[in-house]
């Protein structure tokens, strides 16, 4: 059997499994796996370095199927290569409840799925983060420990999404030469010929961003092999634009949108079996072909063993740090550093913006633990994310812990996902809270994949002032709190900010978002505590003197307003208590008795937050008073805005008094 014949048989195994699984599921996307089978076969049998028996080997190459709808390509490969949790039964259960073979690849469902993909463009942008993580860790731990590639298979849809440009430009700028993107250029989208909607010269486009880019025939194994070999030697990231035929092997539907996202149908599958000379039953892979794949799966075993031998010879300190960082465990130094900061803050009681307080916390965090890698979407001085002595990574120089992501919020968030998934780093980065909208699809993936990514979102309300309504978040807090598995923090002073950072860094299984002010906030009137008060999401800042008539709940910058209102209400003979609610999610997770204690029994509850009410009813009840925003903001100095929109102690007192007054019977 010639190499070409063997290649064809191995590639056809992918095609057959993809056809069969989609047909059995009665839904799915056979077109991409069949079209890209040649690309994947060459990549996985000749270039990608991995070990199915040790799928989490830290120095493995990463493969990202950015075109996640072609999930059967990945599942077929994992089965054929011998990944133990990807059995033929799993392929037969494609797209069924509880299977590892979800409609799109879901991180955590099976070994070998390096990231969740499906929302187009995300895989490519996540891979940029993986490739950057590889270089950053290489700079710290050396070639002996970290020295691998990140491969991406991307579709025209990935490249049409705007996030792709952010990813491409960032990777090109940083010269991430370990990143190799194969573009499955099949010229077919769901609507039909790509000429309906696009005429971009992708090779020229990537070159404009500093990539090397080549065109090949995606069905010619030799061309694929040569292009991948060249790419691995490149000093820049590489695009391999591989012209393919979607649904290759389906005699009537190949090259057409008809095979993109629907089962081929029994008749077409039968015809494909004949055309591909694949006379086997559904889901049956002949032993010799399966053997060939399984042998390919063993290809990097020696390399993996050599790596282990090298790793074992490292000095204990370096080996220990690498291992700890990969587990994601945070050193105790972090808690000590936060404790020391809280002690200082208890003494100095600084009046600072929480974005500045975040910088104070980060100064300690970054000094205490080496895992963090910061950044900003071109708002470094505003987000306060770059601490003293934090070097920035630069093209060809990755010995840094700060990334100038540029004005690319979406690409930044996805890159952070990639770094977190890669392991060894805790990424955090900033933009304005209102621009959380720009990166929402990537934040969603942080949450869905349960990744420790910390979003530092400053300028968190009308408190940013003059920039006006486009820059003033109003609905973003509610929109983010609606997202499962994301913890949103809105700390009220420097101590709370430090506590929220501590919680975020310890939360290994979920992303956190810190909403921070531009404007200065006074320190809360609290004594130093060993407890992390923010951990339970809400706590009493000031109890009432005597039975409470009013409970005042507030977050962030509005806690100071609540405290001022309490003072006035107390003076007027209506004892009030003030509760800070730094995290709705953490508070919602408390047991009933703690929740009842915090909610209290005062007849009047007021919620104060310079944002929309949605979500607050859970705390103040549907008949609670809410002092916040009801529409978009405006452009003016922030004090004028708070007054204009009635988010003031006076207004809180006025509304509470009206509620306390005996109601005229109606």
């Amino acid at each position: 059997m010639t190499d070409a014949e063997k290649h064809a048989l191995m590639a056809n195994a992918i095609r057959a499994l993809a056809m069969d699984a989609v047909q059995t599921a009665k839904s799915g996307h056979p077109g991409l796996p069949m079209g890209a089978a040649d690309l994947a076969t060459v990549l996985f049998t000749k270039h990608l370095r991995f070990d199915p028996k040790d799928p989490y080997w830290p120095d493995r190459d990463r493969f990202v199927l950015s075109a996640g709808h072609g999930s059967m390509l990945l599942y077929s490969l994992l089965y054929l290569l011998g990944y133990e949790d990807m059995t033929i039964e799993q392929l037969k259960q494609f797209r069924q409840l509880g299977s590892r073979t979800a409609g799109h690849p879901e991180y955590g469902y099976a070994a070998g799925i390096e990231t969740t993909t499906g929302p187009l463009g995300q895989g490519l942008a996540t891979a940029v983060g993986m490739a950057l993580a590889e270089r950053v860790l290489n700079a710290r731990f050396g070639d002996d420990v970290v020295d691998h590639y990140t491969y991406v298979l991307a579709s025209d849809g990935d490249l049409m999404e705007g996030i792709s440009q952010e990813a491409i430009a960032l990777a090109g700028h940083l010269r991430l030469n370990r990143l190799i993107v194969i573009f499955d250029d099949n010229r077919i989208t769901i609507d039909g010929d790509i000429a309906l909607s696009d005429s971009t010269d992708q090779v020229a486009r990537f070159e404009a961003s500093g990539w090397d880019a080549v065109r090949i025939d995606g069905h010619a194994p030799d061309q694929i092999d040569a292009a991948l070999a060249d790419a691995r030697r490149n000093d820049r990231p590489t695009l391999i634009a591989a012209r393919t035929i979607i649904g290759y092997g389906a005699p009537n539907k190949c090259g057409k949108a008809a095979c993109h996202g629907s089962p081929l149908g029994a008749e077409e599958i039968a015809a494909a079996r004949i055309g591909l000379n694949w006379p086997y039953e559904a889901f049956h892979i002949p032993p010799d072909i399966l053997d060939a794949w399984r042998i390919a799966g063993l290809r990097s075993r020696a390399a993996r063993k050599e790596w282990s031998a090298r790793f074992d010879k490292l000095d204990a300190q370096r080996r220990g740090e690498f291992e700890r960082r990969l587990t994601g465990e945070v050193p105790v130094a972090l808690d000590k550093a936060i404790r020391a900061l809280k002690e200082e803050l208890a003494g100095s009681r600084p009046k600072v913006a929480t974005r500045k307080a975040s910088e104070l916390a980060l100064e300690r965090v970054n000094a205490a633990i080496p895992d963090t890698i910061g950044g900003s979407a071109d708002l470094t001085g505003s987000n306060n994310t770059r601490t003293s002595g934090l070097r920035a990574v630069a093209p060809g120089d990755y010995d840094g812990r700060f990334v100038h992501y540029g004005i690319r919020e979406h690409g930044m968030a996805a890159a952070m996902n990639g770094m977190a998934l890669h392991g060894g780093l805790i990424p955090y980065s900033g933009t304005f809270l209102t621009f959380s909208d720009y990166c929402r699809p990537a934040i969603r993936l942080s949450a869905l994949m349960k990744q420790r990514v910390v979003y530092v979102m400053t300028h968190d309300s009308i408190g940013l002032g003059e920039d006006g309504p486009t820059h003033q978040p109003v609905e973003q807090l509610a929109a983010l709190r609606a997202m499962p598995n994301l913890v949103v923090y809105r700390p009220a002073d420097a101590v709370e900010t430090a506590e929220c950072w501590q919680l975020a860094l310890h939360d290994r299984d979920r992303p956190s978002l810190l909403a921070l002010t531009r404007q200065d906030l006074p320190a809360l009137p609290l004594e130093l505590s060993d407890e992390n008060r923010c951990a339970r999401g809400a706590y009493v800042v000031e109890p009432s003197s005597g039975e409470a008539a009013v409970s005042l709940f507030a977050t962030g910058s509005e806690v100071a307003i609540a405290l001022a209102a309490k003072q006035r209400l107390d003076e007027l003979g209506h004892p009030a208590r003030v509760i800070s609610v730094p995290s709705f999610e953490r508070f919602a997770a408390q047991n009933g008795s703690y929740r009842r204690e915090i909610l209290g029994t005062a007849p009047v509850r007021v919620g104060i937050e310079a944002a929309v009410r949605q979500g607050w009813d859970a705390i103040i009840g549907t008949d609670g008073i809410f002092v916040g925003m009801h529409d978009f903001g405006a452009s003016a100095p922030y004090e004028a805005l708070y007054s204009h929109f009635g988010i003031t102690p006076e207004r809180v007192v006025e509304l509470a008094l009206a509620r306390l007054a005996p109601q005229p019977s109606s």
Copy 2:
């Protein structure tokens, strides 16, 4: 005085006003207006066609300051050119409450502000919609009526945002040669030199997307003039990459990030006045220079009059249609068409997915009114947005009413904003609801600018089935309902879908979003009504027989579940009523008595929606029962998912019964 001297004086007038206004406001961005003053002066005095005395002249050229932070450039121009509502007092009130001169240009605040900008990339992408609207209306009304250009001033930030790629690729593909983008290439971002984060060759990048692109010196009036003249003759969209010095004229801060986003300071301003030979007081423009600007403002007056003369000669039908379309008024034919459809549906009672019902409605809408222009982000067959006989626009052929936007949700949404702002068209377009996240910043601008844009968001829950959690919206309904001024509809059957379309098209001052199912839904058990039942946001579908024990509130696909649960509860002796809630926003806007009537007095309230609870407390109370989603979805056939996540009539009945049962005293 030479032309060059005159140009310099006129440009310096912009520079001086920008310095002074930012200094007076103590915040703002002087760098861009000073750097781009030469570009703007040539554009506004020699190319842009407009009339300050008739600022809404339909055939005016549009100017979009995509780099909205440079708002003082636009405000200075409007004042200098003689726009009546932009007085010198307004410039002195820059960034103050209630002024027309907000921190970023806000649509509706002053004539000559064609769109709200500030969130980077939006202006450019909105301009693509304006340029497309121009060509589409030109195809319908001819050169005599519609024949103008759209100019954009964009910054490096605009071009780094991913949305820019979607916009550029779409404009290049459609050959929108009336679109001319001037790139203020000052190589400075907030963080510093652009080399910190970018090394894209923008000229090559635009060329890769089918644009003509040139480089010029942005301070050489002759080069600017020639480039603009060439661009106007081009058969493709044009990028003019103009190398400029940010803060041109500020002797110490020019060319540096220091002048990007902060006042220059009194000392630097004094030095700039000397360097620019501008010995005038703050905000003072010498009469001869003001005159020169005012004369430039009159430049297109003759053209405007000629246009009016041509327009008056049109036949009454065409003139009438153009005028009506610009007012945004919807013809009565729409209501008749919806009425006819509702009559048919009352007879046929089809069991259809609401995405299909939306297509049924659109068939009537598109036949009845010519204003609509549909589209899809490459999900045409899934979003059901292309009705029979609707031609697609194509490169060079704009006589169509459907746009293949490609896999570019964000660019699509922004282009729709541009079409709505341009006037004469009602844009609607589709993607999957989960991908509303991709276009959220543009949806926010639809809402902030009060534009009639209709978002058709299908596959609106776990009901989409096998595609899995990445494609299943869970938090999107809450996140969208949180946004001020956006109306979210989730209709429950074909009649409700038709009614929601009717409401959306009549709502001239706000965007609407229709959340539609993939799966079939039965017709609600209702008689034909003259009333649009959805108009009040919630209504009783089935009252209880006798005093209600349970009120069941549901939206969309879950109304059928509520109806089934009611039947069982009734059988068990617990009379239940079913309320459909197609729009939270419309229901919240009803008066107290209607709201009380709908909420009812049943001791148990249940909310049913295959999404997160956030927002539902307003309807069911904090102690209401909620049957919905608590986490992300999963991949499986949709019936299995509804069962798995417990969104079933059985579960509703079980929870209601548990609440109705006498509680053991504790």
